[in-house]
């Protein structure tokens, strides 16, 4: 009997081990992906918590001086005089808490004197202050009580010295929002994923399994139409699921089946609920696209479920981020897919909506939705997807495989440069910056070239050709002309939608400023001019041009270049600079003019614009535009004379 069971077990194990996809999804994903994701999440939360811990709380104290004395040692508290309307000041965020004590701490009959801590439940800074004040007062009361007890010879009971009462100044709407804001974003994201998974599994993987997908692709309509139709079905179903779930959650709250029964959730802000419903639309597009794409990659329903399962687990993360208040909706988090909507819905329910950020969340979500749907449409048009073949190896030596390899190498370079470079610069700023540019970045570039390269002379891939003198002169003029429009045009315009922090430019000073101009020029102008150009306009532009159009290569390599500056405020200007520099390389067929452009531009920013030596007057604007146009003409003419614009092999 046991031998037979053993034979069956061995056979089952053999089969399972040979199912590579199941092994990867069941074992490799949890071992590799989840720890990375959860550590990223906890690190984000920890950073936010640390930030909250460093905040100074403004507190007003009225009544018995003993109370004020008891709080005197409390760190990070700024005691302010009592405003005329302390409750309003708390609600407006001008004051975190008000400790209201009677004039004297004298017991009246059996009752201890009441000390009230006024705060606002949906302002996390106020809630944090309230918790700290309550702890401090309770500890102080215990100390006094112990002293009195000891003084009395350790006999008898003094009862409570004071009764601490916390009073929330939040309106019913705000309290309900705080309650709903903890759960609703989390449940909303999860239910959208569940809704999308059910439909997408059936209409793609299910169709493959039943053999109907091949039948469907025999009808005389373009494949994109079928892919789009399927996307709309899953999107619609996901929106419906999300809306129904939101309605059901609201009903459960109202009926007291869910949440804190003492909270009147009928007072939930209609604007907050409306926002949640509105944001379901782009969020559902992202979720539907992801689920449809994953389902399309699977050969049958079982594989689809295996692939979707880990993603569903990962979907917990954005919801969890939004269930606390540690992670804020900011210009950066507004760009995170899925999490941005969860955070916005939470803030909407809390009544803390910032219209520019909401706009950014909406635009980012629509952008993610667009990218995901393009990815899905691509998968649904592929032969291996339609017929359920094993897909082409991810990094095969085909055009598609080399394109994926180049994209992977670019993403890996951006991430690795961010983390390794960040660590080095935290350790020692100047040395770290030098090492990042001269060691880390070239190593990443060389690794990318080896991993994603498809042959060809190194000099051709990197555009290492002697440039025409006119091209070099054009690059210098372009670099001198681009600063004013970029700083006083693009960045000012960006500031209307994405206000820049006050100390943003100051962040680039500090230790660097003390290094002396020659070293600064070397680190900020010459080094990026050589190293960043070799990697982004050399390696990545070169690799991407061989596996796609010149336009997409310019766009993608510029996006990678902008991302390594890892600041949402610098993305647009560095992306535009990347476009100009990639354009120079494509036009002149040489990387040296773009190196010169980069070095001259960075030097001009450091020495002239950064020092405030160039004001945006009509004269400087005119001169800049003239320089830029003259530079562009020279680069163009240099290209025409060298018979340029011939694409490299592969285009």
């Amino acid at each position: 009997m046991s031998a037979r069971i053993g034979a069956f077990v061995r056979k089952e194990i053999r089969e399972i081990v040979r199912d590579r996809r199941a092994i990867i999804l069941s074992f490799v994903m949890p071992i590799l992906v989840y720890p990375v994701m959860f550590s990223l999440m906890s690190s984000t939360e920890r950073k936010s918590e640390e930030k909250v811990q460093q905040e100074i709380h403004r507190v007003a104290v009225s009544g018995a001086p003993e109370v004020r004395d008891a709080l005197a040692d409390l760190e990070r508290v700024e005691f302010v005089s009592l405003p005329a309307d302390p409750k309003k000041a708390i609600a407006d965020g001008d004051l975190e808490a008000w400790v209201e004590a009677p004039d004297t701490l004298v017991r009246e009959g059996d009752g201890a004197p009441v000390v009230r801590i006024w705060h606002h439940v949906s302002h996390d800074k106020s809630r944090n202050a309230e918790e700290r004040l309550q702890d401090a007062l309770a500890r102080a009361a215990e100390r006094v009580k112990d002293a009195r007890y000891q003084a009395a010879g350790g006999h008898g009971s003094l009862g409570d010295l004071v009764t601490l009462v916390t009073v929330d100044v939040a309106t019913k709407e705000e309290t309900a929002g705080a309650e709903a804001g903890r759960l609703v974003p989390y449940l909303l994201v999860m239910t959208l994923f569940i809704g999308a998974a059910a439909v997408s599994t059936d209409i793609v993987a299910g169709e493959k399994e039943r053999g109907t997908l091949e039948t469907l692709y025999l009808v005389p309509v373009p494949r994109e139409v079928i892919a789009r139709a399927k996307f709309f079905v899953v999107w619609g179903a996901t929106i419906l699921t999300g809306t129904l779930n939101l309605a059901s959650m609201a009903w459960c709250y109202r009926s007291g089946l869910m949440g804190d029964a003492s909270v009147d959730v009928s007072a939930l802000s209609p604007a907050g609920l409306g926002l949640a419903v509105l944001l379901i639309v782009p969020l559902a597009a992202v979720v539907a696209g992801i689920m449809l794409g994953l389902s399309a990659l699977a050969r049958n329903v079982k594989e689809a479920q295996l692939q979707i399962m880990p993603v569903m687990l990962l979907a917990i993360i954005p919801g969890m981020l939004a269930s606390g208040q540690a992670v804020k909706l900011s210009a950066m988090t507004a760009l995170w897919p899925i999490a941005n909507v969860a955070l916005a819905v939470r803030d909407g329910l809390l009544g803390q909506m910032s219209l520019p950020l909401l706009g950014l969340v909406f635009v980012a979500s629509v952008g993610w939705g667009f990218l995901v749907t393009r990815w899905t449409a691509g998968i649904l048009s592929r032969e291996d997807t339609i017929l359920g073949f094993s897909p082409e190896p991810l990094f095969a030596h085909t055009v598609g495989g080399r394109r994926r390899a180049a994209m992977f190498a670019l993403s890996a370079t951006v991430l690795a440069f961010f983390y390794v470079g960040g660590l080095l610069q935290t350790w020692k700023l100047l040395l770290g910056l030098g090492l990042s540019l001269w060691v880390v970045l070239p190593l990443l570039g060389a690794g990318s070239l080896r991993f994603a390269g498809s042959g060809g002379r190194l000099a051709d891939v990197l555009s290492l050709r002697a440039p025409r003198p006119l091209a070099l002169l054009g690059a210098v003029l372009l670099a001198l002309g681009v600063g004013v429009p970029l700083f006083y045009g693009v960045m000012k315009l960006q500031g209307l939608f994405l206000p820049m922090p006050e100390n943003f430019m100051g962040e680039f000073g500090g230790e660097l400023g003390e290094a002396g101009k020659p070293l600064m020029l070397f680190l900020i102008a010459i080094s990026p001019g050589i190293c960043e150009e070799l990697v982004f306009r050399g390696v990545f532009l070169g690799l991407l041009r061989r596996v796609g159009t010149v336009r997409s290569a310019i766009l993608i390599s510029s996006a990678g270049f902008a991302l390594i500056h890892l600041s949402v405020f610098r993305f647009a200007p560095t992306f535009l600079l990347g476009l100009v520099m990639a354009g120079i390389v494509v036009r002149t067929r040489s990387i040296f003019p773009s190196m010169l452009f980069h070095a001259v531009y960075n030097a001009s920013v450091m020495l002239v614009i950064g020092e405030g030596l160039l004001e945006p007057t009509p004269l400087t604007w005119g001169a800049s535009v003239a320089l830029f146009l003259a530079g562009a003409l020279l680069v163009r003419s240099a290209a025409a004379r060298s018979g340029e614009s011939t694409p490299p092999p592969g285009n």
Binding site: R210, G211, E214, T215, L218, V219, P220, E383
Partner: protein
Amino acid sequence: MTERIRVQDLAKTFLGAKGEEIRAVDGVSFVCREGEVFGLLGLNGAGKTTTLRMLSTVLTPTAGTALVNGHDIASDPQAVRESIGFLSGTTGLYPRLTAEETLRFFGEFHGLEGDRLDSAVERVLETFGITKYRTQRCEKLSTGMKQKVNIGRAVVHDPPVLILDEPTSGLDVLAAATTLEFVESCRAEGKCVLFSTHIMSEVERLCDRVAIIHEGSVRASGTMAELRERTGQRYPEEVFRAVVGNVE
């Protein structure tokens, strides 16, 4: 007779699990005409299905060209799909749609609407004797009935070219007989039928001309009489073996 399908040096290469190239079809050429049943014979994995999938535009050729009803499969795939009815053992039916809903769905995609759609659906239901089952979901139908609905789905738009990839594979005797009778009726109507199989009795019964395909390329083609004469063999199985050699 008018040419309906012209295949010229058609090739298809797939990538293997380790990125190696696998030439599933390697320079196949043949011609099929109206009122003719052309048989594509070959072992499993010979390249028949890949060839037919390229002709139905589900797969894109790596090299070579093919015209179906005068339309290029690479540059005008939609016009090709409008001209063909494709049926294989792997083209399934939507289980939760009824027989009539299935026919209407595919008829609409082929540009039929209103009275034209109604009459096309009625014609198919009557021709294949499935009127009684029109409101039954496909998942509830017997294998034979399913096959009839599937054939009806492929011809609801009355295409001039039919591409049938081992259409009797996995069918019981009666369902297979229905399919073969349908092929004969198509020939009688002047349609061009490209028919892949590895069942020699079907070849004997249906095919006017055949091409024997092996390891991705056509090894011999002509009428069965011509192939008999060329190989000096009497039975179709022996003719086939003589062309492809002894294969394990």
